[in-house]
Symmetry: C2
Subunit: 371 residues, 2 copies
């Protein structure tokens, strides 16, 4: 298996077995690994994201940490009469698509012989890293903002992770984890590039579920961009394997209450604006300082996409529509449906959006919605 780990900013190439989570220059790292995908081989594989085995940068099978997750079902919805294909990423073991990334990242940690990981999260990524660490027998410490909902705290704790609640903003939590990362392996869904090697399976599955075709458009709720970047890498793998002939247009969605990427895009800024840690019901993407902002904007440009901001009122309306059609997702998921309403899609266009996390994770917010 050939892979290269390099800095996005200064191009420094790091050792293949590096435990660094960012370059010495402060830049984010990338894994340069071009996966091989053979459509004929897939017929004989069991269901799940590890069916794309040759496209995932883990050496020995014995290192793979998995609950046989993935291959989440798609379902067709109609929103204002327009067809939308929804991928039920809320049906992962821990209740969100973050399991894709955690499965590959914790496999990587096991491959490196890591004994303890630290991670910070507003909830979903923390639960995923805690669950896969438990499966791997790796000690795990999760830093969460003090305001994280009780349901998410219970879940992380029951997986056996040590939970550290940090007062203040989401950013304060990240900084506390980074300090701990000086002593332990930082299993960051934001910084560690192996996480995106997992979320790229989102693209492979969509391709296969659409009859081995790319959709025209992907709508992706975006905070740190864990799904957007992964989806891009996945479709690029498919393109390089000659299995599709163009990348889908990628539309990132942000909540208007915390929309630094949207502002960069709209105002053509070179740097992140000093965004307030705004309040929004879409807590999963309320990220004031996305670490990979320029990478995200590059992807939007390269695929001919755009960034859309949606208000909490629009998100709530979309969430009610989703539920009324029998699906149950966290509010963050509804940003994609709210954004879908804003794009002039023609009726033949194939648009795919994810339900990123389970509605059962957001009981407090769901209760408010029911009045």
């Amino acid at each position: 298996m050939t892979l290269q780990i390099a800095c996005q900013d200064c191009d420094t190439v790091h050792r293949q077995d590096t435990r660094l989570w960012r370059c010495g220059c402060g830049g984010p790292l990338d894994v340069d690994f071009r996966g091989r995908i053979d459509a004929a081989m897939l017929r004989r594989r069991s269901r799940g994201m590890w069916r794309y085995r040759e496209a995932l940068p883990i050496g020995a099978d014995a290192r793979v940490v998995s609950f046989n997750e993935g291959f989440t079902p798609i379902v067709r919805m109609r929103i204002d009469g327009k067809p939308l294909t929804v991928k039920q990423e809320n049906l992962f073991p821990t209740g969100s698509f973050k399991d894709r990334g955690a499965s590959v990242l914790i496999s990587r940690a096991r491959e490196l012989g890591v004994e303890k990981v630290v991670e910070d999260s507003s909830g979903n990524a923390g639960a995923a890293v805690a669950a896969y660490s438990a499966k791997a027998g790796i000690e795990c410490e999760i830093y969460v903002p003090e305001a994280t909902s009780p349901g998410k705290l219970a879940q992380i704790r029951l997986y056996g992770a040590k939970l550290i609640r940090v007062p203040g903003s989401r950013e304060a939590t990240a900084h506390a984890a980074m300090e701990a990362a000086e002593r332990h392996f930082y299993a960051s869904h934001v910084w560690n590039p192996f996480f995106f090697q997992g979320t790229k399976t989102y693209a492979f599955e969509i391709w296969e579920q659409l009859g081995f075709n790319a959709p025209d458009t992907l709508i992706v709720p975006t905070g740190h961009g864990t799904m957007l970047i992964g989806a891009f890498l996945g479709f690029r793998d498919l393109l390089e394997n000659g299995l599709i002939d163009r990348l889908p247009r990628m539309i990132a969605v942000q909540a208007a209450g915390c929309a630094p990427l949207y502002r960069m895009w709209r105002d053509q800024l070179a740097e992140l604006p000093p965004a307030p840690s705004g309040d929004t019901i879409a807590e999963g993407i309320a990220i004031a300082e996305p670490a990979r902002a320029s990478q995200i904007l590059d992807i939007i440009r390269e695929t001919g996409g755009r960034i859309i901001a949606v208000t909490d009122a629009e998100i709530e309306r979309a969430l009610l529509d989703i539920c009324k059609q029998g699906l149950y997702a966290e509010p963050t998921s509804a940003t994609a449906v709210a954004a879908f309403r804003k794009i002039p899609a023609d009726r033949d266009e194939c648009v795919v959006a994810p339900l990123t996390g389970h509605g059962l994770k957001s009981t407090e917010k769901m209760l408010k919605l029911t009045g």
Copy 2:
């Protein structure tokens, strides 16, 4: 499609399009429908429980109500060093295996032209029937015990169902729903035999996931027996199609706090004992008056199985073990692991147990466990 609907007690055959939920004599109804399964055909089918299309008693495809659910992943665990195969039924759209039954039952309701359904449930079945009714555009009324947890209430309400909270016991709720069922279609997961035609897909998937083999033993948490009866019907279909050569041994598990079936089995009673609506953490199977008790006992005898009761302390210990291995299930699921500890399984025996519902559904109980 040939099917016959007959009373279990008096053998009366009812019209094929009957909307009755029980016989005039008070007995429960059965659907006599022997599904056809062709292993070769399955290779070309997409994932999900409807891949066993010819084994499900719904006529036109256009009536099928589905989120492309099912084919839930199995995963291997070790409990006290012994191997246990766990099927992640908690990863259904509404968070429990009840979606199997609801998908077929609400398809049946649509086939009959039903406009409104009523159902009663302590939570999981109510959520499932509400979600599939929403998908089908059928009006839905769910009766729940007053003490049902807020998370489950929110979920049912968000699907757009009308929620009626009934004071008193679980049985009082059932009686309120039965009264309403005099005016509307009773989409009961207990009484309506089409529900079991859905839960039987649990057996088909296990067979396929074990390489087209039946396991030696199935352990099934049992209250009303919705999974146990379904699993039996499914394996019987496989046997009659010549795809397996014997039925797996079926072990039903009850919570010691509410164990009428266990007492019938242990004490060889012909009738249900006057069981108290006992208190147990395994709320999903706390059923004092199971409607199909004799059917359940027949299945246990026919397959050479048994019934085991487990205490809340044993359930809690098992639940912590499940979570520590990275899985997140409701306490009811843990009864199966607790029972597994009590059977003298040899190391070569293939034992399968389900995670019946998601841990995210039981946050209050999970919080208590974390102390």
